[in-house]
């Protein structure tokens, strides 16, 4: 224990010479000749001892006081007792990000990390190790008590996250492991703020490298036809080159093969047009330090139109509705069997099963509302609506269902959800006296309506998603379970609630969701510029278990023990004083 680093302890030690000096001065005997000792016969000798051997007695009080000072000094140094290290759990935080797969010309950082973990475990006689992966979120991989179990468990460590959350994972591990846990972080980047006050051993196993990566890949329709865009970045401080290939799914020959040269830190965007009904595309560049960002899959966009049936008697209102519907570009107007039926005819109340009725309710004696309007922004219809400055004219009609737009206590738009899962919307509006149809809110409202209805149709909301986001799939009515096949071919089943599935895009590649006879596909692409940049990776070791928090974790507070002993010593001291005072008034106590 570094005693000299504890000022309070040093101050306490000053008490030792002080007490010694007091005792020396008090115990010093003055020589005093007397005529006779006869008047002193009944005086007792002091217990502190004297010059003559037969008078020497142990100055117990002195030793008790010295012992008390030493014990208090010891307590001031914050002593700790070594606890059993075998019971101190090991918490491994494993960087689960993509960059851990970078090879840098040899084995991957992940492989080196596993070696490091096994080396740490090899030094432990007995251990209980818990592995926590730090991907987008901290996740417990599992706990092991043997090296064999550890090796098996580490095989499940994939390193496919588009980012890491080492800070959160360290906090999570500390909470999970408790105060005595020993934290080990294994990453490819050096320690940053996560190291905090210490107590964490950080092993960086990365190697810096240059890398050309696909950092963006999009595919969609444009007024001039379907196109796709690819953005490539040379994440290196030196010029580099690569070969870009774009291949139709199932085809042998690439439709694009292009050698590209990059300057240092240069990015390039390449846009290509596609013919109608082009299949899925597989984009690839030459192999380099990180293979995960060298490939992307672009599925064709979902071109399914929302069928909209309009039955509106008011010419002006019909015109406004039709224009708004056409502006979405995702709807086609039909006269029968639409996904949406928009009408101002109050007599039409029965709708087919898959048709959502939208009632435009004119009413009598309309009133104009200028706000303030309250919009349910959490509802798909309320997204992007801003009714400031709008004059909304509507009759006093009580709209059933959940209110979506209100002017004071007057409900202007409501939604009624049927037991089948379909919706019935009501909009109270008098177009002639409203400025709503002339404002931007009108096309926004119908775009929200068409998009919402499209999302409710079976299919994938976004066929091409980035790694780490979610893919949303809506299945048909009959399916209550689906089979999901990930890019590695692994299949698992998942129950469906209200026809909707949210699938975390945790692995790059092509995913398939099978619901009965229907199969839905979406592509996950590892587009993470931060993970593709390998220039900041390092091999390093930082932090120490024997410092600060780690000491506290392995050593229990023991200041109470010397304090308790000191109190006992002082109690004995008081007892001796009391006894001496009773026994002899002439004896100093």
């Amino acid at each position: 224990m570094p005693l000299l680093t504890f000022p309070i302890a040093l101050i306490g030690l000053v008490g030792l010479p002080t007490v010694a000096a007091i005792y020396y001065l008090r115990n010093r005997f003055r020589r005093h000749p007397v005529s006779s000792l006869m008047l002193w016969v009944d005086q007792r000798a002091p217990r502190e001892g004297g010059a003559r051997l037969q008078k020497l007695q142990t100055p117990l009080l002195f030793f008790l006081e010295v012992a008390a000072i030493l014990l208090f000094t010891l307590a001031a140094t914050g002593p700790r007792m070594l606890t059993s290290t075998s019971n101190s759990p090991l918490m491994f935080v494993l960087d689960d990000s993509l960059s851990m797969r970078a090879t840098g010309g040899g084995e991957s950082a992940r492989a080196r990390a596993i070696e490091k973990v096994m080396a740490i475990l090899a030094r432990e006689r007995r251990f209980e190790a818990t592995f926590i992966t730090a991907g987008q979120q901290p996740q417990t991989l599992g706990s092991v008590k043997s090296k064999r179990q550890a090796k098996q468990l580490l095989a499940e460590w994939r390193c496919e996250a588009p980012t890491d959350c080492l800070g959160e994972a360290v906090t999570f591990a500390a909470e999970q492991g408790g105060p005595r846990a020993r934290l080990v972080v294994v990453s490819d980047r050096p320690a940053g703020d996560e190291l905090g006050g210490g107590g964490i051993r950080w092993h960086a196993v990365g190697k810096p490298a240059g890398n050309i990566a696909i950092v963006n890949a999009l595919r969609g329709d444009s007024p001039s036809g379907e196109r796709y865009m690819i953005e490539l970045a040379n994440l290196s401080n030196k010029p580099a080159d690569t070969v870009l290939t774009v291949t139709d799914e199932g085809a042998g020959q690439p439709r694009v093969r292009e050698a590209l040269e990059f300057g240092a830190n240069q990015s390039r965007r390449l846009t290509f047009s596609l013919e109608d009904n082009a299949p899925a595309l597989r984009v690839a560049i030459s192999d380099d330090a990180l293979s995960a960002d060298n490939e992307a899959v672009l599925l064709p966009p979902d071109r399914t139109k929302v069928r909209v049936q309009t039955r509106i008697t008011d010419d002006r209102l019909r015109s406004d509705v039709v224009r708004a519907i056409d502006a979405t570009g995702r709807a086609e107007r039909v006269s029968q069997g639409g996904h949406l039926r928009i009408t101002d005819d109050a007599d039409v109340t029965v709708a087919p099963r898959n048709t959502w009725p939208v009632h435009l309710m004119r009413g009598e004696q309309p009133k104009a509302y200028v706000g303030p309007f309250v919009v349910d922004k959490a509802h798909p219809l309320g997204d992007g609506l801003s009714l400031v400055g709008v004059v909304w004219s509507a009759a006093d009609i009580d709209l059933p269902g959940a209110p979506l737009v209100l002017a004071g206590n007057r409900v202007l738009v409501s939604d009624t959800r049927r037991p089948s899962g379909h919706h019935e919307l009501r909009i109270a509006i008098n177009a002639e006296a409203s400025t709503l149809t002339r404002s931007l809110n009108w096309p926004i409202l119908f775009d929200n309506l068409v998009r919402w209805r499209a999302d409710e149709s079976p299919g994938v909301r976004t066929p091409n998603v980035r790694l780490g986001t979610n893919a949303y799939v809506t299945v048909n009515d009959e399916a209550d379970r689906v089979t999901i096949t990930d890019p590695t071919g692994e299949r698992y089943e998942q129950p469906v609630t209200q026809r909707r599935l949210t699938i975390p895009a945790e692995r790059a590649g092509l995913w398939r969701v099978t619901a009965g006879e229907q199969t839905y596909k979406f592509a996950v692409n590892a587009l993470a510029r931060g993970e593709s940049d390998l220039r900041q990776l390092r091999t390093d070791t930082a932090g120490n278990w024997l410092a600060d928090t780690d000491v506290r974790k392995q050593y229990a507070e023991a200041a109470w023990l010397p304090i308790l002993l000191a109190m006992g010593v002082l109690t004995a001291h008081l007892m001796l004083i009391a006894r001496s005072s009773r026994g002899s008034a002439g004896v100093r106590t």
Binding site: F29, R30, R31, P33, M38, L39, Q43
Partner: protein, 291 residues
């Protein structure tokens, strides 16, 4: 040879005693008839008075004729006889020359003053020093400043010295013991020897301030100046009180013994006495009178 200071002490006492005369004893111890009449009833042939018999009175002095007349026991009182001679016995032990105290100066000065006062009263005198025995002081019958060979080097006490070799007391003389009386022993043992055949006995206790007041508080290693014995004590209020109680108890025993045998005892503190050689305490004790 004796220390030169002692001559000075004797001279100082002699000078101090020049103004005084030895008082005629007012309390008479048991003794033989003397040649000078005292103020009290004694054993002389001169009838003085009658008084009622008290147990202990000499049966030979009962006035039988008075008894026959009054049927009441009455004793005859005769005026005492006092031999006009003063014997001064000085305690010659080490304690009388306690280092740092004025005890030797006071003791010698007192002896000189008393003998000078005795001379003023027409008394003869002799000085004795209690060492291993009671030895006459060289030239002890001359004026005190001529005394010699006085040394406070004895390891015993006056009681032992009186027992070992008593002085050649003059019968019916006045005897003075100058001592600190600090030895363990029965006062009567000493006093009985003093009063035997004496017309009057004066006990003058000479104490130093270090004898009256205990040392300062704290740890003290006491050294017995006579035996060299050591004793380590811690002085506090209780120890001080206990010491003073012991001293008072010791002095009380001597006073009580002196009263019993008809001796007169007084105590002087050496340092206060030699400060101005005021012998008022001896006058108060009716040992001296202003001449």
């Amino acid at each position: 040879m004796m220390e030169s200071d002692y001559h000075q002490h004797l001279a100082d006492g002699e000078q101090a005693g020049a103004r005084y005369a030895l008082a005629v004893p007012t309390r008479v111890p048991t003794g033989l008839a003397g040649i000078q009449l005292g103020q009290h009833a004694g054993a002389s042939l001169e009838f003085k008075d009658h008084r009622d018999y008290q147990p202990g009175d000499d049966l030979r002095r009962i006035d039988w004729s008075a008894y026959a007349r009054s049927d009441k026991l009455t004793v005859k009182l005769y005026r005492e006889e006092v031999n006009p001679h003063l014997d001064v016995l000085i305690d010659g032990s080490h304690s009388m020359a306690l280092a740092g105290s004025a005890k030797p100066r006071a003791a010698l000065g007192l002896a000189a003053a008393l003998t000078t006062a005795a001379g003023n009263s027409g008394y003869t005198f002799a000085g004795y020093l209690a060492h291993d025995g009671c030895e006459p002081i060289a030239h002890g019958t001359n004026r005190p400043s001529a005394w010699d060979n006085i040394a406070f080097t004895g390891s015993g006490n006056p009681e032992a010295a009186l027992h070992q070799m008593p002085p050649r007391w003059r019968a019916q003389g006045i005897r003075v013991l100058i001592s600190d009386l600090l030895w363990l022993g029965e006062p009567h043992t000493t006093l009985d020897q003093l009063v035997a055949g004496a017309a009057a006995v004066y006990i003058i206790q000479v104490l130093g301030e270090t004898d009256v007041d205990p040392p300062q508080r704290g740890n003290v290693r006491l050294v017995d100046c006579e035996t060299g014995e050591l004793k380590e004590v811690f002085i506090d209020a209780v120890a001080e009180r206990r010491y003073r109680d012991n001293l008072a108890r010791h002095q009380g025993a001597w006073h009580e013994a002196a009263r019993t045998v008809g001796a007169t005892m007084t105590t002087v503190v050496a340092e206060r006495l030699v400060e101005g050689w005021d012998l008022g305490e001896l006058v108060t004790a009716e040992i001296l009178s202003v001449s």
